[in-house]
């Protein structure tokens, strides 16, 4: 961690002092424990506030969408976030030349605050300590030690794609472990496990999860791939939704959003971490990514790749078609 920090400092400092960029996107410490805030590093003294750790939970690429073209911006990213930037570059939303990517190898993954909250019974912790992979949370009337793998974001638990694939500067640091699990596990293990359940169980699971949804749109707003000027749920001509917060509407919203993200979602899981109710909505997107792999062998997104739904092969599988007798 120290090594990353040092290397980051040097890179950012040189970018700022040599005026290679207008500013660098990073994180600073939040006002509550285990929370971070996006930081615009414009001056050298801002660098001291910069942090880089396992609770930098947002995907900063989202913020790039707000910036006008032609402005040179530096941004510190992990590999999953770099892939989301690649999707946006592929979809002509961002110019590659505008962005200076500072890639950081990701060893830990990101902690999901919602998971912590659930594990300590919705109580509040005022401080936390870490000792290797053990995190100890302390509140007014409790102290609880939790293993890192229990509070890591789901996608980080299974992630194997930790080295930046595209960067202008690379922070050189050893990756401490490949996945948090010791044995070599499948990247899509959680999806595979879920698929093994009975259909009714799966349906009940989603029904229960979506019941909690408040349609606050934190998932949409934290997702860099949701950049439509008018989202289908907000459109009023035609108005697809009565917006009465029926469960059927929530279901429709999340299903349609999943379809829009099919094969595009790069599993940064910023959506699930942003969800105030801690709904594991990311599972849907991960499934569709797995599907892209199974059906079209297109689950790794590289610069210049066409989007999954914006391309086709003549011999794509079509076993689901109804055939005449």
């Amino acid at each position: 961690m120290e090594q990353i920090k040092k290397s980051l400092n040097e890179i950012v400092k040189s970018l700022i002092s040599e005026k290679k960029v207008e500013y660098v996107f990073g994180f600073e410490e939040g006002t509550l424990p285990l929370k971070s805030v996006p930081l615009y590093i414009e001056k050298e003294e801002d660098i001291d506030r910069m942090i880089w750790n396992e609770y930098c939970n947002l995907n900063l690429v989202k913020f790039l969408l707000e910036e006008p073209h032609g402005k040179k911006i530096g941004i510190i990213l992990k590999n999953c976030e770099i892939r989301s930037l690649i999707v946006l570059i592929n979809e002509n939303q961002i110019n590659r030349e505008d962005i200076v990517i500072i890639g950081v190898p990701c060893s830990y993954g990101i902690i999901d605050f919602n998971k912590v909250s659930k594990l300590i019974g919705g109580k509040e912790f005022t401080e936390f300590k870490k000792n290797g992979n053990d995190y100890t949370f302390k509140g007014v009337d409790f102290e609880k030690t939790i293993k890192l793998q229990d509070i890591l974001s789901n996608s980080c638990v299974y992630c194997k794609d930790k080295n930046p694939v595209e960067y202008d500067y690379l922070v050189e640091a050893p990756i401490e472990f490949k996945t948090i699990q010791e044995e070599d596990i499948d990247e899509y293990l959680d999806v595979i496990e879920f698929e093994k359940k009975k259909p009714k169980e799966r349906w009940e699971y989603f029904k229960k999860e979506l019941e909690k949804c408040t349609l606050c749109m934190a998932c949409r707003e934290s997702c860099p791939l949701c950049y439509c000027k008018v989202c289908f749920i907000d459109s009023n001509q035609p108005q697809w939704f009565d917006k009465t917060e029926d469960l059927s509407e929530k279901l429709l919203f999340h299903m349609t959003r999943a379809i829009h993200l099919a094969g595009r979602c790069i599993m940064c899981e910023a959506c699930t971490r942003a969800c105030p109710e801690g709904i594991n909505i990311h599972l849907l997107y991960k499934k569709l990514r797995k599907m892209s792999k199974d059906r079209w062998n297109a689950d790794k997104i590289e610069l210049g790749d066409p989007s999954v739904l914006g391309s086709y092969k003549i011999d794509d599988p079509q076993e689901f078609m109804v055939k005449e007798d």
Binding site: L32, G121, E221
Partner: protein, 357 residues
């Protein structure tokens, strides 16, 4: 006026309730009132209805709950009326609500004050809100003074206090080994019969209570003077602090959904061939469609304007229109925000900017 009453009641109804008797008090109340109590769920504590005949209930330990009990008086989704189509004719059926007397038990001071703000707002102007008051008029609040404020709490800065009894009908003070039960309002005297058997409070207990109150107050680390906030904001409408604040906002509505005082709503219609209903649902001012007009014009088009609107609504317009602050300092918006946009930091920035100007 309120103070006077408080004094009278002071002498009559301030009882000591041993810790282990609280559950039986709740059970007693549940015989006559519909009770809303904090309940332990799988991984959280939430306010919910209690049916003590059917379920075992134990009053849980909590600081404050993640979700405020706003929804019991101002539900997330509420039917305004329904209608039926009979040929070309329309028949409107008003929603019939049979509301029993209900008690929200264990509500914290900040949340109780939020009802006071909602009361003021929903009764303001020419029309008072019939749906809110049909429930509000039947609701009593028994508070639980706050011994352990949380990290994001700042009620003392917006005129509240952990031990405040403002807006409550009765309050419990937790003294560690026992509770003081105190009746605050006239309506709250209905509770006297449930606690009459318990011993009267002693001087020493009251002294102990003051100590607890002080220690709770001291635990709130954040302090800011908002006496001039209305004037301060008047001069900062075009200030660049709003672009700085909104820069970190992703325009989701999580803050307004957890806010105990946010009351903006949207009206929508649900229908099929034979009829339908009109409902109102919570809405949030951070979404761009909140003010989008059918013509395509949007008066509050950017995050800067919407962020500013939220702060002005609570800290300027409220003072202008109703002479109260629209915030109770519960800190929920700070905790829920995906980008940790801290309203305390914003207020600090406002006060500082005003000093400079």
């Amino acid at each position: 006026m309120v103070k006077k009453k408080e004094k009278q009641d002071n002498q009559t109804f301030e009882k000591i309730i041993p810790k282990d008797k609280l559950d039986s008090l709740i059970k007693g109340l549940n015989k006559d009132f519909k009770l809303i109590v904090p309940k332990e769920t799988e991984d959280d504590i939430e306010f919910d209805y209690l049916d003590s005949d059917k379920e075992e209930y134990q009053f849980p330990e909590y600081q404050n709950l993640r979700v405020s009990p706003k929804k019991f008086l101002f539900p997330r989704k509420e039917v305004l009326y329904s209608f039926e189509k009979e040929g070309t004719n329309i028949k409107i059926k008003e929603k019939e609500e049979l509301i029993e007397d209900q008690v929200i038990f264990g509500i914290r001071s900040c949340d109780a004050r939020s009802y006071k703000i909602l009361d003021t707002f929903f009764s303001s102007g020419k029309y008072s809100d019939p749906y809110y008051f049909s429930k509000r008029n039947k609701t009593l609040l028994i508070g639980l003074a706050c011994n352990e404020p949380m990290t994001a709490c700042f009620c003392t800065s917006v005129g509240g206090a952990p031990f405040s009894s403002e807006g409550l009908d009765a309050i419990l003070y937790d003294l560690g080994d026992k509770y003081i039960f105190k009746i605050i309002s006239e309506k709250g005297s209905a509770f006297s019969k449930y606690v009459s058997e318990y011993p009267d409070v002693k001087k020493a207990d009251l002294k102990k209570k003051e100590e607890w109150a002080k220690s709770a107050r001291d635990k709130i680390k954040f302090d800011i003077n908002l006496d001039n906030i209305e004037k301060d904001l008047d001069g900062l409408f075009e200030s660049d602090i709003w672009s700085k604040v909104s820069r970190r906002c992703i325009s989701c509505g999580a803050c307004s959904y957890v806010c105990p005082t946010c009351h903006c709503f949207d009206v929508q219609e649900q229908s099929d061939k034979n009829g339908g209903k009109r409902v109102r649902i919570w809405d949030n001012c951070q979404a761009s469609i909140f003010t989008l007009e059918a013509s395509g014009h949007n008066p509050r088009n950017s995050g800067r304007e919407r962020t500013r609107q939220r702060i002005y609504h609570k800290f300027n317009y409220y003072l202008k229109n109703y002479k109260i602050l629209g915030c109770v300092g519960c800190g929920r918006c700070i905790k829920v925000c995906p980008t940790n946009r801290d309203i305390r930091e914003t207020l600090k920035a406002v006060v500082e900017a005003a000093e400079k100007a």
